[in-house]
Symmetry: C2
């Protein structure tokens, strides 16, 4: 299913992913209608559903490479000072790539297509949290899950409210603390 054998099927699949990426850019991942994706790809709705079980699977396909690249970046940051902090900045940027993406990620079941794509990101975060903790840079009780959730929270609030803060500002408050 993921790589169909017939050439027309492969072409249709590629067109669907391209059409979805365009619409995600234009109106957001949340606001794109499945039927619009099919129409822009020049196929019937049934073809879309044959290739992707649900909207999550389509989103996972569109952002999959991007998330894989993100996880790979963690290895480069590993040796840098304040690696975790830089990592979270990238995390927020990728989660904010399309409007509505953060909702899809947050509500994705761990066994679903999107949840699977996020697994490497979680693992990379855990590694960086571990190192930051060993370095004494962050609280000893900080967990990777908490870091990812704070990143999602920042990404969400920045696209939910107008005008948005910069993500950097909210991350500064969170890392350095509100209290003085």
């Amino acid at each position: 299913m993921s790589t169909p054998r017939r050439t027309d099927a492969r072409r249709n699949r590629a067109r669907l992913v391209a059409a979805a990426a365009e619409l995600f850019d234009e109106v957001g991942a949340d606001a794109t209608a499945m039927n619009d994706v099919a129409r822009r790809a020049g196929v019937g709705p049934g073809t879309l559903w044959r290739h992707f079980a649900d909207k999550d699977a389509l989103i996972a396909e569109v952002v999959g490479d991007s998330l894989d690249n993100l996880a790979a970046l963690a290895a480069d940051l590993r040796a840098e000072p304040r690696a975790l902090r830089r990592w979270v900045v990238e995390l927020v940027r990728h989660i904010s790539r399309y409007r509505g993406l953060v909702d899809a990620i947050a509500h994705a079941g761990p066994d679903g297509p999107l949840g699977g794509r996020c697994h490497a990101v979680e693992a990379a975060t855990a590694d960086l949290v571990e190192r930051a903790r060993a370095q004494g840079e962050v609280r000893a009780d900080l967990t990777a899950t908490e870091v990812v959730r704070l990143a999602m929270a920042v990404a969400w609030v920045n696209e939910a409210v107008t005008p948005p803060d910069t993500a950097d500002r909210l991350l500064s408050l969170i890392f350095e603390g509100v209290d003085r």
Copy 2:
């Protein structure tokens, strides 16, 4: 419009608000269908739309008293130590009263019915931020808008992911800071 003159109209309005509150409790503010509210209230859909211009207006009516009480609470906290911190805990709790409420609040235009209800909350927050700053308890550059947004971010992420963290834990990270 807000207080209709005919007795049947007043009764219908009260029934609609009660039905909406029930459904918000059962399935969340985001998942309740307008037609279901009308059906449970025992009126036609048209009657619902006659009383409330859109879903935001209905939500604003249901949570209005609650938000007003919240704003009043600020006065009581004013003299307490660490008033801002306690305030934010209450803020998060009220924003989380119904599933999906935080989305409605975040996306509410400032001139809409929900935005209007939130105005007093913003003002109360600004007052407490001011005092906390004067006391030297928080960063000098902290704004009330940022505090409200952090509260919304925490409320959102806690209802978006499973299992939820406790709000207290995320607020501890944010106030005391992730860094050590």
